[in-house]
Symmetry: C2
Subunit: 103 residues, 2 copies
Amino acid sequence: MPVSTPQLLQARAEVFKALGHPTRLAIVDMLAGGELCVCEIDRQIDADMSTVSRHLAVLRNVGILSSERRGNQVFYRLECPCITSFYGCLEGVLSGTGRTACL
Amino acid sequence: MPVSTPQLLQARAEVFKALGHPTRLAIVDMLAGGELCVCEIDRQIDADMSTVSRHLAVLRNVGILSSERRGNQVFYRLECPCITSFYGCLEGVLSGTGRTACL
DNA sequence: TGTTCATTTGCAAATATTGCCAAATACGCA
DNA sequence: TGCGTATTTGGCAATATTTGCAAATGAACA
Protein backbone atom coordinates (compact mmCIF):
# COMPACT_ATOMS: atom_id res chain seq x y z
CA MET A 1 0.00 0.00 0.00
CA PRO A 2 1.22 3.49 -0.83
CA VAL A 3 2.27 5.25 2.35
CA SER A 4 2.05 8.98 2.02
CA THR A 5 4.90 10.97 3.51
CA PRO A 6 4.17 13.26 6.45
CA GLN A 7 4.92 16.19 4.17
CA LEU A 8 2.33 15.10 1.65
CA LEU A 9 -0.26 14.45 4.32
CA GLN A 10 0.40 17.89 5.75
CA ALA A 11 0.15 19.56 2.36
CA ARG A 12 -3.11 17.82 1.55
CA ALA A 13 -4.48 18.71 4.95
CA GLU A 14 -3.72 22.37 4.32
CA VAL A 15 -5.87 22.32 1.20
CA PHE A 16 -8.75 20.55 2.94
CA LYS A 17 -8.47 22.93 5.86
CA ALA A 18 -8.66 25.88 3.50
CA LEU A 19 -11.91 24.44 2.14
CA GLY A 20 -13.26 23.81 5.63
CA HIS A 21 -15.16 27.04 6.08
CA PRO A 22 -18.61 27.89 4.69
CA THR A 23 -17.64 31.39 3.63
CA ARG A 24 -14.66 30.08 1.71
CA LEU A 25 -16.82 27.47 0.03
CA ALA A 26 -19.25 30.22 -0.93
CA ILE A 27 -16.33 32.07 -2.51
CA VAL A 28 -15.31 28.95 -4.44
CA ASP A 29 -18.91 28.63 -5.64
CA MET A 30 -18.93 32.20 -6.83
CA LEU A 31 -15.64 31.86 -8.67
CA ALA A 32 -16.74 28.65 -10.37
CA GLY A 33 -18.59 30.94 -12.77
CA GLY A 34 -15.51 32.95 -13.62
CA GLU A 35 -13.13 35.44 -12.05
CA LEU A 36 -14.43 38.25 -9.89
CA CYS A 37 -12.96 41.27 -8.13
CA VAL A 38 -12.85 41.44 -4.37
CA CYS A 39 -15.47 44.15 -4.27
CA GLU A 40 -17.94 41.92 -6.12
CA ILE A 41 -17.23 38.98 -3.84
CA ASP A 42 -17.58 41.22 -0.83
CA ARG A 43 -20.91 42.45 -2.10
CA GLN A 44 -22.34 38.94 -1.96
CA ILE A 45 -20.94 38.01 1.43
CA ASP A 46 -22.19 39.30 4.73
CA ALA A 47 -18.88 40.03 6.43
CA ASP A 48 -16.36 42.80 6.70
CA MET A 49 -14.26 43.22 3.58
CA SER A 50 -11.16 42.63 5.66
CA THR A 51 -12.58 39.26 6.61
CA VAL A 52 -13.34 38.43 3.00
CA SER A 53 -9.81 39.45 2.05
CA ARG A 54 -8.36 37.07 4.63
CA HIS A 55 -10.50 34.21 3.40
CA LEU A 56 -9.30 34.88 -0.12
CA ALA A 57 -5.72 34.85 1.13
CA VAL A 58 -6.24 31.47 2.78
CA LEU A 59 -7.51 29.98 -0.48
CA ARG A 60 -4.75 31.60 -2.51
CA ASN A 61 -2.02 30.46 -0.13
CA VAL A 62 -2.81 26.82 -0.80
CA GLY A 63 -3.11 27.33 -4.54
CA ILE A 64 -6.86 27.03 -4.92
CA LEU A 65 -7.15 30.63 -6.09
CA SER A 66 -4.89 32.96 -7.96
CA SER A 67 -5.12 36.73 -7.97
CA GLU A 68 -4.23 39.43 -10.39
CA ARG A 69 -4.34 43.15 -9.91
CA ARG A 70 -5.86 45.13 -12.75
CA GLY A 71 -5.87 48.81 -12.11
CA ASN A 72 -7.66 49.59 -8.94
CA GLN A 73 -9.01 46.18 -8.23
CA VAL A 74 -7.80 42.65 -7.60
CA PHE A 75 -9.40 39.78 -9.44
CA TYR A 76 -9.50 36.26 -8.07
CA ARG A 77 -9.78 33.15 -10.16
CA LEU A 78 -10.48 29.51 -9.30
CA GLU A 79 -7.44 27.43 -10.20
CA CYS A 80 -9.01 24.05 -9.62
CA PRO A 81 -12.56 23.53 -10.89
CA CYS A 82 -12.29 19.89 -9.83
CA ILE A 83 -13.21 21.03 -6.34
CA THR A 84 -16.81 21.64 -7.23
CA SER A 85 -16.94 18.34 -9.07
CA PHE A 86 -15.94 16.72 -5.79
CA TYR A 87 -19.21 17.90 -4.29
CA GLY A 88 -21.00 14.93 -5.77
CA CYS A 89 -18.95 12.73 -3.49
CA LEU A 90 -19.56 15.04 -0.56
CA GLU A 91 -23.32 14.99 -0.92
CA GLY A 92 -23.00 11.24 -0.86
CA VAL A 93 -21.17 11.42 2.42
CA LEU A 94 -23.65 13.91 3.77
CA SER A 95 -26.71 11.87 2.93
CA GLY A 96 -25.38 9.19 5.23
CA THR A 97 -25.97 6.26 2.94
CA GLY A 98 -23.63 7.86 0.52
CA ARG A 99 -21.54 5.20 -1.05
CA THR A 100 -23.53 5.21 -4.25
CA ALA A 101 -22.49 8.78 -5.02
CA CYS A 102 -18.81 7.87 -4.83
CA LEU A 103 -16.58 6.31 -7.42
CA MET B 1 -25.74 30.11 -11.26
CA PRO B 2 -26.54 27.55 -8.58
CA VAL B 3 -26.47 29.23 -5.21
CA SER B 4 -25.80 26.79 -2.41
CA THR B 5 -27.82 27.27 0.74
CA PRO B 6 -25.98 28.23 3.94
CA GLN B 7 -26.90 24.83 5.31
CA LEU B 8 -25.29 23.03 2.42
CA LEU B 9 -22.18 25.20 2.57
CA GLN B 10 -21.93 24.48 6.28
CA ALA B 11 -22.38 20.76 5.80
CA ARG B 12 -19.75 20.60 3.08
CA ALA B 13 -17.38 22.66 5.20
CA GLU B 14 -17.75 20.18 8.04
CA VAL B 15 -16.57 17.37 5.79
CA PHE B 16 -13.62 19.35 4.46
CA LYS B 17 -12.72 20.40 7.98
CA ALA B 18 -12.75 16.79 9.10
CA LEU B 19 -10.27 16.02 6.33
CA GLY B 20 -8.11 19.00 7.25
CA HIS B 21 -5.71 17.25 9.58
CA PRO B 22 -2.68 15.15 8.60
CA THR B 23 -3.39 12.44 11.14
CA ARG B 24 -6.93 12.05 9.91
CA LEU B 25 -5.72 11.87 6.31
CA ALA B 26 -3.28 9.18 7.37
CA ILE B 27 -6.21 7.27 8.84
CA VAL B 28 -8.17 7.64 5.60
CA ASP B 29 -5.14 6.33 3.72
CA MET B 30 -4.91 3.33 5.98
CA LEU B 31 -8.59 2.52 5.65
CA ALA B 32 -8.51 2.81 1.88
CA GLY B 33 -7.07 -0.71 1.96
CA GLY B 34 -9.94 -2.09 4.00
CA GLU B 35 -11.38 -1.89 7.48
CA LEU B 36 -9.15 -1.95 10.54
CA CYS B 37 -9.61 -2.03 14.29
CA VAL B 38 -8.64 0.95 16.41
CA CYS B 39 -5.70 -0.91 17.91
CA GLU B 40 -4.20 -1.50 14.47
CA ILE B 41 -4.69 2.12 13.45
CA ASP B 42 -3.20 3.22 16.75
CA ARG B 43 -0.19 1.01 16.15
CA GLN B 44 0.68 2.94 13.00
CA ILE B 45 0.14 6.41 14.41
CA ASP B 46 2.44 8.16 16.81
CA ALA B 47 -0.13 9.57 19.21
CA ASP B 48 -2.04 8.57 22.27
CA MET B 49 -4.81 6.12 21.57
CA SER B 50 -7.28 8.59 23.03
CA THR B 51 -6.17 11.08 20.41
CA VAL B 52 -6.58 8.52 17.65
CA SER B 53 -10.01 7.68 18.97
CA ARG B 54 -11.04 11.32 18.81
CA HIS B 55 -9.80 11.67 15.25
CA LEU B 56 -11.80 8.62 14.31
CA ALA B 57 -14.86 10.16 15.93
CA VAL B 58 -14.41 13.36 13.92
CA LEU B 59 -14.34 11.39 10.67
CA ARG B 60 -17.26 9.23 11.68
CA ASN B 61 -19.38 12.19 12.77
CA VAL B 62 -19.36 13.63 9.26
CA GLY B 63 -20.04 10.27 7.63
CA ILE B 64 -16.63 9.57 6.14
CA LEU B 65 -16.14 6.53 8.36
CA SER B 66 -18.46 4.01 9.91
CA SER B 67 -17.68 1.83 12.88
CA GLU B 68 -18.79 -1.53 14.09
CA ARG B 69 -18.01 -3.28 17.32
CA ARG B 70 -17.05 -6.94 17.00
CA GLY B 71 -16.30 -8.55 20.28
CA ASN B 72 -13.58 -6.72 22.03
CA GLN B 73 -12.63 -4.34 19.30
CA VAL B 74 -14.14 -1.63 17.13
CA PHE B 75 -13.56 -1.71 13.39
CA TYR B 76 -13.61 1.38 11.24
CA ARG B 77 -14.39 1.43 7.56
CA LEU B 78 -14.04 4.10 4.88
CA GLU B 79 -17.48 5.00 3.57
CA CYS B 80 -16.32 7.16 0.71
CA PRO B 81 -13.37 5.91 -1.35
CA CYS B 82 -13.85 8.88 -3.68
CA ILE B 83 -11.87 10.92 -1.20
CA THR B 84 -8.59 9.32 -2.16
CA SER B 85 -9.48 9.67 -5.82
CA PHE B 86 -9.76 13.39 -5.16
CA TYR B 87 -6.06 13.46 -4.32
CA GLY B 88 -5.21 13.70 -7.99
CA CYS B 89 -6.83 17.08 -8.03
CA LEU B 90 -5.11 18.05 -4.79
CA GLU B 91 -1.65 17.25 -6.04
CA GLY B 92 -2.47 19.46 -8.98
CA VAL B 93 -3.29 22.30 -6.62
CA LEU B 94 -0.20 21.62 -4.58
CA SER B 95 2.18 21.62 -7.50
CA GLY B 96 1.19 25.20 -8.12
CA THR B 97 0.70 24.96 -11.85
CA GLY B 98 -1.91 22.40 -11.20
CA ARG B 99 -4.75 22.96 -13.57
CA THR B 100 -3.79 20.05 -15.76
CA ALA B 101 -4.45 17.58 -12.98
CA CYS B 102 -8.00 18.82 -12.57
CA LEU B 103 -11.08 17.87 -14.52
C1' DT C 1 -18.55 -11.86 40.13
C1' DG C 2 -14.06 -10.12 39.25
C1' DT C 3 -10.28 -9.51 35.79
C1' DT C 4 -8.44 -8.13 31.57
C1' DC C 5 -8.23 -6.01 27.17
C1' DA C 6 -10.02 -2.41 23.86
C1' DT C 7 -12.03 1.88 23.32
C1' DT C 8 -14.10 6.20 24.63
C1' DT C 9 -14.79 10.33 27.50
C1' DG C 10 -13.80 14.26 31.15
C1' DC C 11 -10.68 17.52 31.96
C1' DA C 12 -7.25 21.17 31.37
C1' DA C 13 -3.46 23.43 28.90
C1' DA C 14 -1.51 24.79 24.61
C1' DT C 15 -2.38 26.32 20.14
C1' DA C 16 -4.98 27.90 16.10
C1' DT C 17 -8.89 30.21 13.81
C1' DT C 18 -12.18 33.76 13.15
C1' DG C 19 -13.88 38.41 12.71
C1' DC C 20 -14.07 43.18 13.55
C1' DC C 21 -12.02 47.84 13.77
C1' DA C 22 -8.54 50.84 12.51
C1' DA C 23 -4.50 51.82 10.05
C1' DA C 24 -1.64 50.99 6.09
C1' DT C 25 -0.86 50.17 1.23
C1' DA C 26 -1.69 50.35 -3.89
C1' DC C 27 -3.43 52.44 -7.79
C1' DG C 28 -5.61 55.90 -10.90
C1' DC C 29 -6.54 60.48 -11.68
C1' DA C 30 -6.86 65.52 -11.22
C1' DT D 1 1.51 66.12 -5.13
C1' DG D 2 -2.89 65.24 -3.09
C1' DC D 3 -7.47 62.78 -3.19
C1' DG D 4 -10.66 58.92 -3.60
C1' DT D 5 -11.38 54.06 -4.26
C1' DA D 6 -9.97 49.17 -3.57
C1' DT D 7 -7.59 45.91 -0.94
C1' DT D 8 -4.56 44.19 2.61
C1' DT D 9 -2.51 44.03 7.22
C1' DG D 10 -1.93 44.79 12.51
C1' DG D 11 -3.94 44.17 16.73
C1' DC D 12 -6.95 41.99 19.71
C1' DA D 13 -10.83 39.44 21.84
C1' DA D 14 -13.79 35.50 21.31
C1' DT D 15 -14.16 30.93 20.05
C1' DA D 16 -12.69 26.36 18.55
C1' DT D 17 -9.29 22.61 18.00
C1' DT D 18 -5.81 19.52 19.54
C1' DT D 19 -3.54 16.61 22.82
C1' DG D 20 -2.24 13.69 26.74
C1' DC D 21 -3.39 11.91 31.16
C1' DA D 22 -6.55 9.66 33.97
C1' DA D 23 -10.91 7.74 34.68
C1' DA D 24 -15.00 5.45 32.75
C1' DT D 25 -17.27 2.16 29.72
C1' DG D 26 -18.04 -2.28 27.12
C1' DA D 27 -17.21 -6.98 26.07
C1' DA D 28 -15.12 -11.51 26.80
C1' DC D 29 -13.92 -14.90 29.86
C1' DA D 30 -12.14 -17.36 34.04
